[in-house]
Amino acid sequence: MSFQNEYDIIVVGAGHAGCEAASAAAKMGSNVLLITLDINRIAQMSCNPAVGGIAKGQIVREIDALGGMMGKITDQSTLQFRMLNRSKGPAMWSPRAQCDKIRFSEYWRIELQNNERVSFWQGSVVELIVDHDKVIGVITEIGIKFYSKAVILTNGTFLNGLLHFGQNRMKGGRISEPSSVGLTEQLINCGFVAGRMKTGTPPRLDRRTIDFEMLDEQVGEVGNKFSFYYRNETVLPQMNCHITYTNEAVHGELEKGFKDSPMFDGTITSLGPRYCPSIETKLVIFNEKNSHQLYLEPEGVDSIEYYLNGFSTSLPYEVQESAIKFIPGLEHAKIIRPGYAIEYDFFDPTKLLHTLESKILNNLYLAGQINGTTGYEEAGAQGLMAGINANLKIRELDSFVLLRNQAYVGVLIDDLVTKGVDEPYRMFTSRAEHRLILRQDNADERLSALGYSIGLLPEYLFNVYLKKSILVNTIFDQVANVSVKPEIVNDFLIANDSAPIRYKTKLYNIVSRPNICFKDILEKNTFLKGKLEPVPSEIFSEVIEAVEVRIKYAGYISRENSIADKIKRLESIKIENKFDYSTILSLSTEARQKLQKINPETIGQAGRIPGISPNDINVLLILLGR
């Protein structure tokens, strides 16, 4: 065993999960080996050239707040930024960015290369080296052994990946890339439960053959970004998306190919996402709709590829080609890569702890699509948490788990390890019972201090947060105390359809009015702005918005907080390995089986297992010893 082959942590796979895992573990002090099938394809955007979106954008903000890199790298490669759901309340505001997928990959590579604790190896891992239920290393396809204190598997769709193009099938983890074999079988032998999932991707089109003239344009907003900490020195040229629709002629063409669709002829039996169906599935499920919306999204500044969002398909190439000709704007469009479906192995995530360490093999962590999730953001979040926890474990430090009322990341992992998955898992805001407090604007307030305390977020970045936080608190107090005379604000109030005031009124009461924008008042009224603590222009919007949210939604937020507090106490009662559930006769039979299978870590988690009743929880509480 040579020194060259020994590391603290080995990360298998350099996708969105693997990169965050390697980066976090290295930043926290571990020597990391990142093994990937192709060193030129780090952090590929295999599907959508975009990061964020509803609920996903919140996750990226959380990754950033904790000290992960996805936010920063997205900002560097952003082609178009939009805050979705602006018309709704702040809990629904969701950042989303179209990205240059080539730059995204490049910036990740640079990020990792700049970290001297990260080493790279191009190859395929075919076996884990196990010593007494503990993973101590990996073996590659050419028999090279690497040893480590912990291994993080982030194999994505590469385990026994199978691509479908109509009736044509080939092995692969992504178009034109090989899949990896061997690991699945070993893990199953150890007691892991494998399943198959399916996902799909739409065709990519040649920009030069698209007629944009006749399509609606979707323009982004400038100046906004994901990261709480990093300023964006270089901004890429901004690009727009375009909107088009399918029609009955398109549907007619597609239906001609149904007989050759692997989705319908029984070839693909694995579970696909219900919420992101292929175009052929949409035609079947929503057969009353004669049109579906599609987006044309640019894949990069220097790329001619366009992503046809909403048209994911595994129909034969010829069918895709003839159907696309009937879509407005795409009459002459040429396909560069056809859409395809991919089937891959995943492992039942209920075999994992909240740290993402497996319950079966010690020091083995699983993160990303291998756990049955979908999405770069979901993968990145798991990679980050696995990287953090692997690092903490090998240093014999306390594990780091986020609760459901602390972060979407907490909701994500708790759902995975408690409920398992029966379709590719994607985050929704409706999965979070405390949606109103898990907002993108307060991710730093929720998580910066935690990121700093575990040694991931460096002090100079934590100070960026502290500075903002102090300003927010100061201005909040000032707004609560400053009174405004009618003549100062009435013009503004009337202009904004808000009743004028008759007497001196606290600024707080004015900001709390629904159709009054705090930032607007301050921008239109320098006298009022002068009464408040000066805020540096680069964080002005952020700070003012934070104060405004706190004031406008005070009632809802405090109610949500008090609900969350009630639930919290159950999370602090640890029950892992305390019971042999099969012997507790006062539990229902179903509860005994489910509890035995999941072996929940806390009473709170037990209560979320499907099929566990409040009565069962009472029984457990009573049986708990001190």
Partner: protein, 464 residues
């Protein structure tokens, strides 16, 4: 030890006894007790008293005295649960028990789950495992039985009606969620007008049910009847005649009945709960004046007021008395009980019969001492109870836990309606609707978890 909310419950067996004990346990037990307990000693607070002591005083609801009580004070960890515990020993009337319990809940205590005191005792290491295991078995069986009982109780359309409305609400929430999670455009899937209509339907059903709680209480605890009248007109004699026992102290000295005496009696299948009250007479005698004060308050709680009149007194004073009571009795049934009818003159009888009665009033001549014409009075009282309200298929909420859940659901649906009217964003609506669903589900036994999401998938088509 984790920070648990303060819980309360009636710890003595359900029903009427000589006394009952209401137990409060938790970090705020003493603080909550202090808000309702008033010692006759000025400035005496339970929070300043040493552990393991008893204290005499009154439970006040606002200014109204609910009961005289003795309070036992225990401090953590030397109590049954290992937390701060206050035990309130009150009089055994169901009505008083429920009132005190509700008062404590109003002050921030939470109604204890079955076995929760024991659970806490165990969690705080006051019990060993075998003891707790025995309790666990008991609770597990007790809960499902209790659930069955509750479901049986809600016979007829109640539970299915709640379920139906709940399903519709659930459907709407899914649509609201769909707008939130599956579309970046401002599309409305959930028709707000329909949602308002549905919310109103839910609200009115819940209101009907919470209202029925009062009725349910009446059925369980008796129809409250206040007996009022000047001193020595024979109120206690009447009560004793109705009760057939010597409960009230009866003497010929004015003002012998110094306090409100309560008792229930089943008269021809209807349960009545009587308050005999001290005479409504101005007095300077301190103890009696307190009793009188309470008599007035009792009037408000009564469904029926019996004004006992001594027909041997001068007609003028009788008419004055009637006029006075009419000012205090507004919505309740008022029965003018002309007592000592055997001693009445024809003239008085005639003049009394001439008194114009409203449709809420009636007049009965009796002789309480000889129980003469008592049956007529009882008939009059029974007809006063609009028992047509209590049809067998009607749903009546008698369970305070259901009542609590319904009240919370009512608040949540009220906020939903207000939110819809002011056109607030979906995620706030969703918070309120989910809360309402949660509480309705806690009655019908349905759990919201993942239902919403499951429902969503039937309907959507994703944008980006």
């Amino acid at each position: 030890m984790f920070d648990s909310p303060t819980i309360c419950a009636i710890s003595t067996p359900a029903g009427i006894g000589g006394i009952a004990v209401i137990r409060l346990s938790g970090a705020e037990a003493i603080q909550i007790a202090d808000t309702v307990f008033h010692s006759p000693v000025k400035g005496k607070f339970l929070s300043e008293q040493v552990a393991n002591t008893l204290h005499f005083g009154f439970i006040l609801k606002g200014k109204e005295t609910l009961d005289e009580v003795v309070v036992g004070l225990f401090r953590a960890p030397h109590s049954y649960t290992g937390e701060d515990v206050v035990e309130i020993s009150c009089h055994g009337s169901l009505f008083v028990q429920q009132q005190i319990l509700q008062l404590l809940i109003d002050q921030g205590a939470i109604l204890a789950q079955p076995g929760e005191f024991t659970q806490r005792a165990f969690l705080n290491g006051k019990m060993d495992l075998s003891q707790a295991e025995a309790v666990a078995d008991l609770i597990a069986s007790g809960n499902s039985a209790a659930h069955r009982v509750a479901m049986n109780q809600m016979r007829g359309g109640f539970s299915s009606e709640i379920k139906m409305l709940r399903d519709q609400l659930l459907h709407f929430t899914s649509l609201v969620e769909l707008e939130l999670d599956f579309s970046e455009e401002d599309v409305e899937f959930a028709d707000r007008t329909q949602l308002i209509a549905l919310s109103r339907k839910v609200e009115s059903l819940i209101k009907k049910l919470t209202d029925s709680f009062r009725l349910g209480n009446v059925i369980k605890n008796g129809i409250p009847v206040a007996i009022v009248g000047e001193t020595n007109v024979g109120k206690s004699t009447l009560l004793n005649a109705l009760l057939n026992e010597e409960k009230a102290i009866v003497s010929d000295i004015h003002g012998t009945t110094r306090d409100v005496i309560e008792d229930t009696v089943n008269l021809n299948g209807v349960l009545f709960r009587f308050f005999d009250t001290a005479g409504l007479r101005q007095t300077t005698e301190p103890i009696e004046s307190m009793g009188i004060e309470r008599s007035y308050q009792k009037l408000e709680q009564a469904s029926i007021v019996l004004l006992v009149l001594d027909v041997t007194s001068p007609l003028d004073s009788i008419l004055t008395r009637i006029a006075a009571i009419r000012k205090m009795v507004t919505s309740q049934k008022l029965i003018l009980v002309a007592n000592k009818s055997d001693l009445a003159t024809e003239e008085t009888r005639y003049n009394l019969s001439e008194v114009k009665l409203t449709k809420n009033e009636s007049l009965v001549f009796i002789a309480a001492k000889s129980k003469d014409n008592l049956a007529a009075l009882i008939r009059e009282m029974q007809s006063a109870v609009s028992l047509e309200k209590v049809q067998s298929e009607d749903v009546i909420v008698t369970n305070i836990r259901h009542y609590e859940a319904l009240t919370k659901a009512q608040e949540a649906i009220g906020r939903t309606i207000a939110g819809l009217e002011s056109n607030i964003s979906g995620e706030f609506l969703s918070q309120d609707i989910r809360e309402c669903l949660f509480y309705l589900g806690s009655i019908t036994g349905q759990i919201t978890t993942d239902e919403v999401l499951g429902n969503i998938f039937k309907h959507f088509c994703i944008g980006k």
